[in-house]
Structure formats: structure tokens, C-alpha cells
């Protein structure tokens, strides 16, 4: 996994270094449902809650085959605590069968995993209010299917559906990596005129 992760970023870096720099920046807005789930070990998708994301992607290559984006997200979780995350996501997005865009992405990020209730901490003499979150390393893996593209005036819209699997590391020693799956619907928007 570590090697795959490393190779993916090296590949993206090599490709990006040889690409045209005049490709546009793209705004990517997504929303969907998430749950602690991965398609392994008979885990069950249950009681999903809302997740929203916003990214700024830099498109690369003449056919915009690659992108690297900075993604911000908010995941609601009533029982286990909400989360805010920021992650760098590299994607390969070839177009197949006319206008069907498939995507494969891999990245790394940081998650503020919040407590669902106020945490308390012993300072040696008293119980005091604790920190409200823990920083967790997050490794996202994303598969997507989109339509390229709809044009309106100078804007180009690319609707998509994605499944993002996030592995949470350092959440707790016995629960690492903790899997989170998010099913997202989103829209990528950029201005195609210079």
C-alpha cells in the first residue's frame, strides 16, 4: 500500500512536470453520505450521515487526464463526533466511451476528529475540559464516474458520482486503520475560456 501510494505521487509529479501549465483551475463541489465501512470482512454500511466537500483542482495534460486538488470536507457524525478534513487528492481521469469520465484518485490528508461529547481530562488535581478533537492522518482512495461535459456560456460543468474510501490512521491503536466510506455526488466547474 505504501509503495502504491508513493508510486502514484511520483507518477503524478513526473506527469505534471511535463504538462502544459495553461490548464484551468477547477472548482469541485460534492455532497453525499458516509459511514464507517469498507467492502471487506462482512462490514455493513449502516446509519450513514452527511458529508460535504469542496476542492480546488489543477487540471493537467492537454486532454486533462490528470488533476491534483486540495479538498476540504465536513463529515457529520452524531454518535462518534463530526470531522473536518483537508486532503490532497491526485486523480487520473481518462474519458472513455464518448463523454464518460472515469476517475481513480489517491491522496493524503489530515482530519480533525471531534468528540461527540465534551471531553474531560485529569490534570493531576482536577478534572478539566479536554481538547475537542484529535488530529488523525487520513488516506483517501477515490473511484468516480462522471460526464464530460456540459457547457453554459464560458463555464464547463462535469457532474460525477464517486466512492471515496478513507483510511483513518492513529484514530486509536486498536482501530487503525479505521475505514470510512463516502458516496458522493458532485459537480466540477471551470471556466474553459482564457
Amino acid at each position: 500500500m505504501k509503495h502504491l501510494f508513493f508510486s502514484f505521487f511520483v507518477l503524478l509529479g513526473v506527469i505534471a512536470s511535463g504538462q502544459r501549465t495553461d490548464q484551468p483551475w477547477q472548482l469541485d463541489l460534492g455532497a453525499g453520505l458516509h459511514s464507517f465501512y469498507a467492502p471487506v470482512e462482512n462490514l455493513k454500511w449502516s446509519r450513514p450521515e452527511l458529508v460535504t466537500t469542496a476542492s480546488l483542482n489543477k487540471l493537467m495534460s492537454r486532454k486533462q487526464l490528470f488533476s491534483v486538488g486540495l479538498q476540504l470536507g465536513y463529515a457529520r457524525n452524531n454518535y462518534q463526533g463530526d470531522a473536518l478534513f483537508v486532503q490532497l487528492l491526485g486523480q487520473i481521469t481518462p474519458v472513455i466511451a464518448q463523454k464518460l469520465e472515469i476517475g481513480f484518485g489517491l491522496g493524503a490528508g489530515y482530519r480533525l476528529a471531534l468528540y461527540p461529547s465534551p471531553a474531560q481530562k485529569w490534570d493531576g488535581a482536577n478534572w478539566i475540559k479536554g481538547h475537542s478533537f484529535k488530529g488523525v492522518i487520513q488516506v483517501p482512495l477515490q473511484f468516480s464516474l462522471g460526464y464530460r461535459s456540459l457547457r453554459f456560456q464560458s463555464l464547463e460543468f462535469r457532474p460525477y458520482a464517486a466512492w471515496q474510501l478513507q483510511g483513518l490512521f492513529r484514530y486509536s491503536p486498536d482501530l487503525s486503520p479505521l475505514p470510512v466510506s463516502a458516496f458522493l455526488m458532485g459537480m466540477k466547474i471551470h471556466n474553459y475560456k482564457k
Binding site: L112, H131, S132
Partner: protein, 397 residues
Amino acid sequence: MKKHLVLIAVYVSLFLAACQKNLFDQPQQDAPGNVQVNPNHPMKDSLQYIINKYVAAGLPGVQVAVRNNDGFYIASSGYAKLETRTAFKTGTPSWLFSITKVYTAAMVLKMKERGLISLDRKLTDYPVPDIEANISRAGEISIRMLLNHSSGIADLAELPEFMVGQLNDPLHQPSVKKRMEMLKGKPLLFEPGTDFSYSNSNYLVLQLLLEKITGRDYQSLLNTEIITPLGLQHTWYNPSEQQTIQYGFPNYYFDRFANEQLENVSRWNTALANASNGYGGIAADAADVTSFFSALLNGQVVSTASLAEMKTWITGAQSTQPDYGLGLEYSQYLEGSTPQFGHEGDGIGCSTQVFYVPDNNSILYINSNTGRKLFGPYLFKITDMKNELCRYVARWR
């Protein structure tokens, strides 16, 4: 730019504060009644000293009770509920979690005495659809193997689907049927009867067998076989959330991120205990737990021959000393002494233990309202405290 950063910081702070609520918090009220203790019990000061030490190290609350030839005594330290700084009372009850297995094993032994079940018969001799459908190689597993955890059946509480399910929906626990279905297709961990591996699944299966052979549910069996005959006033099976409040249960705490910060998980702990059935679903106060154990040792629950069977220890392939009997855990805290035994219990927000020292006829009960289920600092604090208390009582003369 600086102004924007300040604004962002304010927004994030407000957001973080707004996200938190006391979702699992439960009201905590005093346990009704007063428990009679010997105020001059000779272990009193030492027990208090030990638990004070661990409360000073960050345990929210601890209750410890001892019953021996000098009478009964309960010591407590810290809080039953941190948020309100409410102290434990002598009658504060708690979930027992796996101490429940001693009660379940005793009931199985009682049924054996009545000829309703044979410990060396196989599971398939007592056909139960949920067992036949979900337990691999049931025809090779005996009742005794369930009782002493040598069946090789995987522990349902350690399955990833169970653990992840706890995070997704902690207040809606899987039914007995669903938990049995989690075992479907799971291979045995070893050849039945050749090793030891502690598994809550064994005692869930035993509950189904008990219910099958008697035609009664676990609650009814517990009432007629143990609670009523022994006159236990504060022992319950699967009390509801509302009842736990009424009976004066403490609140329960959990170190989610293993970073020495605790959150209140009382309702989650109650939901989990309620779904732990014959392997963890009994609750009681300290007086009742020690009374039950005393009665078990005195032949008031099962016969002397059955008690001897319960104390027939098996040793796992990797173990250097015996592990388990029938519903009893083996321990040896003092070299050269008669082995001690009892049982521990662990939930998401609590940790308990009942411990018997034959050499001085002392029964110890420990109740901490913090969990140690996940690896982290509280696992060590609670385990160290239990070990120190057990060692003290084992050495006491």
C-alpha cells in the same frame, strides 16, 4: 489578512463547540437504601489507600467491596458522575459485563444436576436453529467446550463487523439472531477441545441452549434459579436505560483516542450491556455480587461436585498457567498459595472483577466506571489497579 485569520479561528472555535453535545450522558441519582457494612473491617484502610492512589492518577471513580470472615465492607473513591461531582454510594450498582458468565455457567451446571443437559454431549444433540445454521462443526463441540472456551468459536465481540457496527449505531445493538449470524461461515480458531480462546460467542450459544432445554427465557431462569432463592434484591438482567437511572447506576467513561481524555458514554455502555445477554447482561450492586459468589462457594447454587467441575482448569497451548474452568478465570497472585479464581468484566465504559482467595476466604469485587476495551493509558491504569487490589487481598492474612 490577519483580520481574516482571526475571523476564521473564531468561526472554527464556534463550530467545534456547536458540534458537541451530551449525547450519551445519563442522569445519575443516588442508589436507594443503605448497605450494612462492618465499619471496622481490617482491610478498610488499605483498600481505600489503593483506590485513592488510582483515582489520583486519573480514574474517575472506583468502588471496591470485600466479603470475608471479618464481614462486608465497601470502599469508594472518585465520582459516580464526573460532570456533577457525585460520589459513589455503598449501594451504587453497576453492569457486571462478563462476570455474568459465572451466573450462566452456574445455571448450566444446575441443569446438568437435573439431568436436562450433559456437559459432554455435542451441540447437535440439542438442536437449536440459530446454532445449527451459524456455528461451524457444531457436531464436534461439546457443552463443556463452550463453558471453558475450548470450542474454538470466534469471539463475536472481536469481529470487525461488530466493532465497526458499534461505531455506526451504538444505541441500536444487533439482536441475538444477528449476532449469531455474524458467526456464520467463520472457521473455528482451532480443533475443538485442543486449545483455549476466550469467546463471548460461547456464552451466547449457552444461553440459547439453556432456553431451549428449559423452554424458558434467560431472565426467567435467572430469577427462579439464582435471584429469588438467594434473596438478591439488587441483581437485574437487562435493565432498561430508565431503570438504570432509577436504580442509581453511575455514568460511564471511555478514552476514545487513547490520549487520556474521557468522554461520557453511559447510554452507549447501557445499550451494549443490554445486548450482552448471557455473556454480559447482568447488573448488580456490590453486596449482591459478593453474596452470589459466597453462595456459589458455599454450595447454595450448585452442588459441591459441580463446583469442583467449575474449578477444573484448562490450559491454553501458549499459556504457562491454567486459564479457565467452567465460567471461572484462574489466577495465581501469590506463589505457593491455593490458586485464586473469579471473573473479570469489561464494557465500553466500565471494568469489573470478582475475585476469590481460598486461603483467607475473601471475596473481592472491583467496579470502575471507566472502560479499558481499547489499548491505551486507561487499559494500564485499570489493570494495574485491579492487580494491586487482587495481590493485596491474596496476601492478606
